[in-house]
């Protein structure tokens, strides 16, 4: 049995330690906000926070997650919408919406470490793929979230 801390809750799981956390979240626990996009840590649709840092959960095994704090999109805005989510709404970011959980988790992690990211910082740190091409709106929303967080 593995014990994982997910969104502040402990889960005892009878799974192989090499199971990617992505599939633990989706298929064992039923938290489907974290998405499968590529399985090789290329696209970032599966981005979660591990001890506060954006991590691609398709290449992060359950065994390695023991003893760490996992936060998913469902946990990010559990009490009230996170500033990033509010900014996403204000800037009309989502189209199909599939990649947006990962984009939001990546942006929230960036802002936690760098409260006023420049465009160059965003280019360097936000490498998640969006096939709908919402990048210009994501960029604007990250700047907006940075401003909202300072209010």
């Amino acid at each position: 049995m593995l014990s994982l801390s997910i969104n502040g809750q402990a889960h005892e799981l009878d799974i192989e330690p090499e199971t990617p956390v992505l599939w633990v979240l989706r298929d064992e626990i039923g938290l489907t906000g974290t998405k499968f996009g590529c399985g090789i840590a290329q696209c970032g649709a599966c981005t979660i926070h591990v001890d506060g840092v954006a991590t691609r959960s398709c290449q992060f095994s359950a065994g390695d997650a023991v003893g760490k704090r996992i936060l998913t999109i469902e946990g990010l805005g559990a009490a009230h919408l996170h500033a990033v989510q509010t900014a996403w709404i204000e800037n009309d970011v989502p189209q199909c919406g599939y990649c947006q959980s990962g984009q939001i988790m990546a942006a929230a992690s960036l802002l936690a470490q760098n409260p006023s990211p420049s465009d160059a910082d965003i280019d360097a740190e936000i490498t998640n793929i969006c096939r709908c091409g919402t990048y210009p709106r994501i960029r604007a929303a990250i700047h907006r979230a940075a401003a909202l967080a300072k209010l």
Partner: protein, 723 residues
């Protein structure tokens, strides 16, 4: 169903009675506040309580529920179509909620929702009038119900903001009080619909209704479906299209944890397990012997040579105006160029998947499909169940772009569920998605023009060799030798020349081809708009001026060009190593012009800094959504222009994931501005696709200005642009 039961409880109860299946509904935190719930699929009853008509439901609390018969794949259709109904219904748009129309009802109720196929940038264009009529008709019934109740003439009443008013007596009633009577009203004649100058909602910026559920992880895509007792399937499709599994060694995996079954499916083999990750690992470990067939000897280079050679004829004429042959012979100068484009994958972010519960007398399928009607018929046929007992629970689509118009994943999921008699979620990996797409066809085009002494074209002679989509899909033989999508943008080239000849050869390989965002325009605009630039340079003229001269007498094109040149700062100096490129193209009823500001580094790296677009789609339903679609279409086309290339070796696709099928990311994304030059009138153009065709030629034309190198083959990553 006459009993008034909530839809959710109905579904849960009926499934329980039929097979102990209860849909697990995760109650979202913001469900009551959002106009679109996390589960967008509609009711399965043929009629529900509080319906005014099939499209409009008025809840007693005044909530307006509108049924949308097109699929939401990111293009904003649930919002724009709802706006069209609400415009006529005269309701408070803040109280509007939306769900999908039922494909089963559409099947059983004489096509009440029309064609549910979503594609071709057609949703607004083709359903606007009927949706306006549905809204107007519901409004007239509500007014009639109020008038009857008050004993006054309907004409003395007005509807506004979700209520009917009789101003002479000061009486009013909210729609929720009238819906019961309104459903029984029969109108002597259907009311007239509004004309554009009467619109109050259409044309106004509206935030999309699906945004709230898409920032919390709550929105349910097909892949998020969870059913009690559900098992998972992972698939290995035969690497060479058209091949099949000869044998497999089940013993190699059957002792692995969670193994349930190996099931042969269309095009390959599925492994079923208790968890998807286990199924995926097992299918990768399953030894399969494939019968790959003769196509295993082919590759992209052979196709390229074949398409090039095909241009020498014989070809089938697709369009003819004047005598191009004589005009070319008489021209003092001939310009000729060969353009080539590769196969492209759609690569929507959500890999293909379908969750199916097959039973002998009923099929339930949860899927994101661009065609709920076709999905219903496919599931019925494959599952051997009466289509009246097939229920397609359409989900949010994690991207479509044409790929989800044909549901290969549904066929396989029905096969697996039927074989094992359990509900199953079948998911393709990204590798299966890239390697078993139905691709944008590879093509070769040879464009020739005669130029007069003034440098202006006397004749165009365009030839294309390209795969037939209808043949590939088995939808028809295209026996005339021409299909419209193959020559769109060629046959209707807007530029003036005294003679035009367009010839076409539809030539398929074993690689399946299909609709890819903007279809034939995706390659034809690249060729034509690059070629017009070549002609301008050959004539020593500015590409904007040259196009203006060739578009004389086309005021809508000229209006787009002029606004574009102004907003895009055409002619204004840029730093060394940077330039602007221009392209304009009409597709799906809409003209889009784009100026790309491009920089090429000394080592040959291309960066698109800024794109300015100008759009004439006639009328706009939601300006915000048009801007979003232009941004999206530009980036979709930019990815293809810079990186997009599916290559075939030994009959199979060489690429497999986003590491070798590269997609533009944040650092590649230009700023994008959208402007309008609307011609209005009777024109209602599409918007999901028309922003894609101009971007590749706009970039290529800028690169020529910077480097002097003419791009005639995509993608740009293969071009040597370094100094």
């Amino acid at each position: 169903m006459n009993a008034i039961v909530s839809r959710r409880s109905f579904i849960a109860a009926s499934l329980s009675a039929a097979g102990g299946l209860v849909v697990m509904v995760a109650i979202p935190r913001f469900a009551s506040a959002v106009p679109l719930g996390p589960e967008p699929w509609g009711p399965e009853e043929l009629t529900t309580a509080n319906e005014v008509n099939a499209f409009v439901v008025v809840e007693p609390d005044g909530t307006i529920l509108l049924r949308i018969a097109k699929s939401e794949m990111g293009q904003g259709v649930m919002t724009s179509l709802a706006m069209i109904v609400a415009e006529e219904l005269e309701c408070d748009f803040a109280k509007v909620k939306v769900e999908y129309a039922s494909a089963t009802r559409n099947f059983m109720d004489g096509g009440v929702y029309g064609d549910m196929q979503t594609g071709g940038s057609s949703s607004v264009r083709r359903s606007r009038v009927s949706l306006q009529q549905a809204g107007a008709s519901a409004r007239a019934r509500l007014i009639s119900a109020a008038a009857t109740r008050w004993g006054v003439a309907p004409i003395a009443c007005v509807a506004r903001g979700g209520s009917v008013f009789h101003e002479a007596s000061g009486r009013s009633a909210v729609y929720g009080q009238l819906v019961g009577d309104a459903a029984n009203v029969s109108l002597r004649e259907e009311p007239a619909i509004k004309t554009p100058e009467q619109f109050r909602l259409i044309g106004q910026r509206q935030a999309r209704l699906d945004t709230p559920v898409k920032v919390t992880g709550a929105a349910k895509f097909g892949i998020d479906t969870r059913l009690p007792g559900m098992v998972y399937a992972a698939v290995a499709n035969c690497p060479v299209f058209g091949g099949k599994a000869k044998s497999y060694d089940e013993a190699a995996i059957k002792n692995k944890r969670g193994f349930i079954a190996v099931v042969p499916v269309e095009n390959g083999v599925a492994v079923v397990a208790d968890r998807f990750w286990r199924a995926k690992e097992m299918v990768a470990a399953l030894p399969i012997v494939w019968d790959e067939g003769a196509a295993a000897a082919t590759d992209s280079e052979k196709f390229r040579a074949d398409y090039r050679a095909a241009l020498d004829g014989p070809l089938t004429n697709a369009a003819k105006r004047g005598d191009a042959k004589s005009a070319l012979a008489a021209s003092p100068k001939i310009v000729e160029a060969l353009y080539e484009v590769p196969h492209l994958a759609h690569a929507p972010m959500e890999p293909l998947n379908a969750t199916v519960h097959w039973r002998p007398d009923r099929i339930d399928a949860w899927i994101g499909t661009q065609s709920a009607d076709a999905a219903l018929k496919l599931a019925a046929e494959v599952g051997g169940v009466d289509p009246r007992n097939v229920f397609i629970h359409n989900c949010y689509l994690g991207g479509g772009f044409g790929r989800r118009a044909v549901n290969d994943e549904l066929r396989q999921a029905v096969q697996v569920s039927k074989a094992i008699a359990k509900p199953v979620k079948l998911v393709w990996t990204r590798e299966q998605d890239i390697q078993h797409d139905r691709y944008r066809p590879q093509a070769a085009l040879r464009l020739k023009a005669g130029l007069g002494a003034d440098g202006m074209p006397t004749a165009f002679d365009f030839r294309t060799a390209v795969g037939s989509i209808t043949r590939s899909l088995g939808w028809g033989a295209a026996s005339s030798g021409v299909e419209p999508s193959a020559v769109e943008g060629l046959s209707n080239v807007p530029y003036l020349a005294s003679a035009l000849n367009v010839d076409c050869l539809l030539k398929n390989t074993h690689v399946p081809v299909m609709f890819w965002r903007s279809v034939g325009s995706s390659q034809n605009a690249f060729a034509v708009e690059s070629f017009i630039d070549e002609l301008a340079h050959a004539a020593g003229k500015d590409p904007l001026d040259y196009r203006r001269a060739l578009l004389a007498g086309k005021p809508d094109f000229l209006a787009v060009l002029d606004k574009l040149a102004d907003k895009g700062e055409w002619g204004k100096a840029l730093p060394v190593g940077s330039a602007r490129g221009l392209a304009i193209h009409e597709s799906f009823g809409t003209i889009v012009g784009e100026i790309a500001e491009v920089a090429v580094s000394k080592s040959g790296e291309v960066r698109v800094e800024r794109v300015v677009a100008c759009v004439d789609c006639g009328h706009v339903v939601n300006p915000l959504n048009v801007e979003m679609q232009i941004e999206s279409a530009v980036l979709y086309g930019l990815t293809a222009a810079l990186f997009g290339e599916i290559t075939i070796k030994k009959g199979a696709v060489e690429q497999g994931n986003f590491d070798d099928y590269q997609i533009a990311r944040m650092a590649d994304a230009p700023t994008i501005e959208t402007h309008f030059a609307l011609s209005g009138g009777g024109k209602w153009g599409g918007i999901g696709e028309p922003g894609t065709p101009p971007i590749a030629p706009a970039i290529a034309n800028a690169i020529f200005t910077i480097t002097g190198k003419r791009i005639r083959s995509l993608p740009l990553k293969n071009a040597a642009l370094g100094a």
